[in-house]
Structures are given as C-alpha cells and as structure tokens.
Symmetry: C2
C-alpha cells in the first residue's frame, strides 16, 4: 500500500509538472503567435491550402478537404486568424490558421465564384452561379443570415464581381440580366436592395476601388466598362473607356483579364488590355486613357507594389512563364522575370517589401525582394494558384 501511495503521489506530481509544462509551453513559445504575417496559398488540384508565414518565408502547414478549389478565393476575419475560402463547388470553408484546421465548412450552393466579408467583419457573402444569387452567412458560425436570389422575374442570373462596400453593404453584378445590385444588410439580417438595370451586355467581372467608392464592371458582350459611383448612386451607372474590350482585340482572347487586378498608383490606374499585348494607363480622376505600355503577352493581373512605384504583370498562355515589372512614372519595363510555366498569381506583403508568385507547373511559390528584384526564397506548393495574405482583413473591397 505504501508503495502504491508513493506511486500515486509521484504520479500526481508528474501530472502537475506535466500540466505546468504543457500550459507554460502553450503560453510562452508554443501556440502563441501573431497573425499579421500569415497567408494561404491555394493548391487547386488537391483541395488544400498551404498556410504560410511571410516573416520566415516558409510554410507552416496544410489544411485539406476543401473541395474544388479551381478559381478559389479568400477573405479574412478582422482578427486575421480565420480565412474564408470560397470554392468553385459552392463550398465555404472557415479555416483557423493558428490551429491549422477547418473551423467550419458548408456547401451552400452548387457552383459559386467568390465572396466578400462585410466592413465590420460580421457577415460573409458568397456569389453563386447555381442557383444564381448571393447568400449571406454569419461570419462566426456560418449560419445563414440572408438569401438574395438574383435575376429578373423568374429567370435567375449568375452573380459575378461581388465585393464589400463600407457600411455592411455588398455590391454585385448579374451576368445574364446585365444589372448591378447594392445590398445593404442591417443588424437583423434584413436586406435592402438597390438595383441598377441595363448596365451593359454580359458583365463578367467587377472591381471596387480601394476607397470603396467606384464599382466598375467589365462587359463580355460589348466594349466599354460600367461605372457606379457609390457616393452618388442617384447618378446611376455610366459607361467609361468605350474602346475597352474584345472588339478592339487584335488577337484571340485566351483569357479575359481579372478586373480585381487593377492597380492604383497615385493618380493613375494600370489596367490589363483585353486580347492585346498592352497595359492601359488611365487617369483616375477622369477614367480617360492616358497611355499604353507594350507587353510581351496578354496581361492577366496588373498589381501595384504598395508604394505605387511599380506594377507587376503576369500573362495568359503562351506567355504565362513571365512577369514584367513596369515603372509607373516612366512607363518603362525595368525588369523581365521568368519564374517558370504557369505564373498564376502575385501577392505583395502589405508594406511591399516582398512579392509572392505562384508558379503552378513548378509546384512552387517564389518570394521576391521588390527592391532588388532578386528571389529570396522558394516555398513548395502543389500546383499553387491564388495567394491571399491576412492583411487583406484590413482592406476595403478585397
């Protein structure tokens, strides 16, 4: 008995010691870490994301089981801990980047194409192709909050170009119906809709400027872009850049450029031309074209370095192995990089000292120093596509 008692005491002591160690480890060096330097890289073919750390320039781990991630995108909770990943199959997954696991996951539609998080971080909205519309969920629980079927009369429309705007609003575009809708969601989940009809033929994508003021939809069925000034919705939607689109394209359009890639640099916007080997330069005040920069391929993303001094450009096939760096002041190409086949996406760290580039066919993400334009690191990833850093939590319209 004595021996057993002694054994119990030793066991208890060991337990206390163990508890203390585990708790201390958790508190001091274990799990505590900031989230401002985290991000995710989409592994499109395998339904996973790689969680990355931009300070160490390395992977922290992977989270799988996310369904069809072709064309997937992500937004962040306001604390930067959770990424909401929008899959092509209607899946909405809330990922905990600290615990490296799925916090919650729902399949909320049959076919979807991106999402947004409200300014206050309380609502996540998803834009759906099938059934066409927008569904809104509680960001904490993913419980449904509101359902907005999109279309005219009984004819449903696919929804594209969904973004957040200041004040628990979401703005989106109806592909078949050719309308822009602004949804204002109150604290009880009631939705007030403002509809802008006949904005153009087959709007296929849209963007909002970083101040959340100007919403611009690209048109697949005709040239020009549809502009809505959210400070003056009463003025309606007007047409800008009448020559912009496929009508002017001298080449077959391999891929319509992403509008969300428009780069704002000072008073100018840098925009991928459609079907032309050019980047267009626009005046931010008047939206008029100010110039064109010749490129070695059809641009897909034109992304501004956060200080606005450079834009970095990637390309459609057959030039998707290249990245061109353009000086925004002179319009000159200052550097031509060849990261490898399948350059799909570029993401700058928020203050702009690094850019991360997905090189799909090399199964690699390359990290470049944006001052020297030299490669700093390589992070292995299986057929990487979109890269999304947690600093997006703090931006309007991302």
């Amino acid at each position: 008995m004595i021996r057993r008692t002694a054994h119990r005491i030793r066991t208890a002591g060991f337990l206390v010691l163990l508890c203390g160690c585990v708790a201390a480890a958790a508190h001091q060096v274990g799990d505590l870490r900031g989230t401002g330097d985290l991000g995710i890289v989409i592994e499109r073919a395998s339904g996973r994301v790689v969680v990355v750390d931009t300070t160490a320039r390395s992977a922290l781990g992977r989270i799988g089981g996310l369904g069809d991630l072709s064309h997937a995108s992500a937004v962040y909770s306001r604390d930067g801990r959770y990424a909401y990943v929008f899959g092509r199959d209607g899946g909405l997954s809330k990922l905990d980047l600290l615990a490296l696991r799925i916090e919650r996951r729902i399949v909320q539609a049959g076919n979807s194409i991106g999402g947004a998080i409200s300014q206050d971080g309380s609502l996540v909205a998803v834009s759906n192709y099938e059934p066409g519309g927008v569904r809104i969920f509680d960001a904490a629980t993913l419980d449904p909050v509101a359902d907005i079927p999109a279309g005219i009369d009984d004819r449903r429309s696919k929804v594209v170009g969904l973004v957040d705007a200041p004040g628990r609003r979401f703005v989106f575009t109806l592909y078949e119906a050719g309308e822009i809708w602004v949804a204002d969601v109150d604290g009880s989940g009631r939705v007030q809709l403002e509809k802008f009809p006949r904005v153009g033929d087959q709007p296929y994508d849209a963007l909002i400027t970083p101040d959340g003021r100007h919403y611009i939809a690209g048109l697949f069925g005709e040239d020009g872009l549809a502009l809505l000034d959210l400070w003056h919705p009463d003025e309606g939607v007007r047409r800008i850049l009448p020559g912009y689109g496929r009508g002017e394209a001298p080449l077959p359009v391999y891929k319509m450029p992403h509008l969300e890639g428009w780069a704002v640099a000072g008073e100018r916007l840098f925009v991928p031309a459609v079907g032309r080997h050019e980047v267009l330069v626009l005046d931010r005040r008047t939206w008029a074209e100010r110039g064109r920069v010749p490129m070695p391929g059809q641009p897909i993303f034109v992304v501004a370095r956060p200080d606005g001094r450079e834009v970095w450009v990637n390309f459609a096939l057959p030039n998707n192995d290249r990245v061109e760096v353009v000086d925004t002041e002179t319009g000159a190409v200052t550097r031509s990089l060849r990261p490898g086949r399948g350059v799909l996406h570029m993401e700058f760290t928020p203050r702009g000292e690094q850019v991360w580039i997905s090189v799909r066919d090399e199964n690699r993400v390359d990290v470049y120093d944006t001052r020297s334009h030299e490669k700093l690191a390589e992070v292995p990833a299986e057929q990487p596509s979109g890269i999304f850093f947690s600093a997006r939590a703090h931006r309007i319209g991302l």
Copy 2:
C-alpha cells in the same frame, strides 16, 4: 504486479488523455487568438498601456512599468503581436500583446520623441532629443544596430519627424540644424546617409504620405513647409504652401498641430491650420490650397476615415472637448460631437467602421460607429492619450 501494471496502464492512459485535453484546451479556447483586431491605448500619467480588442470593443488587460509616456507613440511588428512603445524618457519597450507583458525594454537615450519600424520589420529606429540623433535597434532583440548622431560639426540637433520609407530607409529632420536626412540601412547595419541642408528654420515635425513618396516638414521659425520627393531626391527640398504657419495666425498658437494627422482623401489633403479656426484643403497633385473649412477651434488632428468620405477633427484648448466631422466632398460639417474634456487622439479601425476617441479628463475611450456617428461603447482608461491599432503594422510611414 498485475494490479500495478494495470494501474500503470490506466495512469499512462490518463496521462495521454490529460495531455490531449490540455493541448486541446490550449489549442482551442485558451491562448490562441488573432492579432489583427488588437491595439493599445496609452495611459500617459501612469506609465501603462491598455491592450484593447476592437471586435469585442473592450480592454484585454494592461501592461505597466513603461516609464514616462507623455507624447508616447507606438509601431508594430509585422505579425501584429508586438507593439514598440517610444516613451518621452528614452525608453523603448517591446510589448507582447498576446502574453500581456513586456517582452524587452531598454532606455536608449535621455529624451526621445517617437520612432519607426523598417518596411521589412527588422529594424526599429528611435529619434532622440538628448543626445540628438537616431538610434537603430534589432526589432527582435532590441540589440543596438546603428547610431546616427545628428547635427552639423559638433553641434548636436534634436531629431523630429522620424518615419520609415520603403526599402529599410528612415527619414528624419534636424531641428536646430534645419536639415532633412535619409538613412539607408543595409543588412549588416551599415548606414548610408543622404543629407538635405537648409530646408527651413526650426523644422518641428514631419509626415510622409501613405505611399512613402513625399516627406513634408513643418517649420516653427518661418512660414511654409519643406517638401522632399523621395522618388526624386536629386531635385532637392522645395517649399510649398508659403502662407502656412504662425505668421498667418490671427490667434496665439496654443499647440502646433500634429503633421502626422494630415488626412489624404482622394485627390485632396485636409490639413490643420496653425492658430486659425480652419482646416485647409490642399490639392494632392500641386500642393496648392483649394479651400478652407471653418472650425470651432484650433485643429490638432485631422484624420481621414479610411474610405476618404469624412475627416474627423479634434482641437486645442479651450475647445478640446469637441470633435467635428467634415464631409470631404462638400466641405460641410455633418456632425458635431462633444465626447468630453481632453479629446487627445482618434484612431479608425482599418476598414473604417469604428473610430476610437481618447477622452482624457473623463478617463475613457469612446468607440463610435462611423456611419451613424453614434457611440457604440466606452472603454475605461486612466487619462488616455494615443491610440494605436495593430493594423499599423501593414502601413508605410506609420
């Protein structure tokens, strides 16, 4: 023996179970949390900061022992976990906002006035009055990296207006010498200095635009402002706004306005006038004055709501109980608030849905909804002054 073996097995099982529980608890609900919604409020009289959570709109705890925090400011590590607090007594404290404790603290000079963190997050710089100069520290360890005595010949100058600029550069101004210096720090801590002499009489403060391009110093000894375009340092420093300063002031100047409070809203800058009951409106392209907004007192901080639609203004004595909200498009005051005596600072959440306002004499920080202009919450704080949210980690020049 059989029983003991069984006991051991049970114990081992319990240990495994316990380990699992402790680890799971720590991992699930314990210490893990994001840092994107954290911030600190300076309690100037007591040498403490309150760590706050902008999602819960409440205090998480306090960290004390930080010395003289009058005129204290802070910057953030790139992961958002650590705040570097610059005290008036030369103290530089690295605070761990997750563990709620001082990670490291040094007293690096006799009298200092703010600091900055390099674009890559690796270096923290402090501007000192006594001895006049800038000292640069490793952001991880606070070990000294470089010392830059400031002055002409043997005459030391106080350093003001220290900011970071893209590419491990720091820009600062010498008060007595009337010079602007740009320090470029390489990976080994070697400093290359570029000096701009005779920028004006007694430059007392400075700011850098959010893109890190234009550095502007205010002058105490004469009117006008000194502008350096960091994209074109070869063009030197030029004078802008020749009427700006005390010379034009119709009233005694109770407090020189903070330059770092300049608000950028679209193509315009909103700037506190010196000694006048006005906010000046400047053209961002030409720096020319475009208008003046009448105010009920001498403005101190003029801060833009992140979407640029409003600027919020606080005032010097005897009007330091007020906050005025100005519509940037019309120039009209749309709301007049009276939070209480001693409104010292205002900080917007990064996407702009809330603004936090220190009300010193009420021992309170007020949280306002920026859409309705209604108060959402009050957070107790002892004589609060500066408020700094962790999203500053992601901005140039803050």
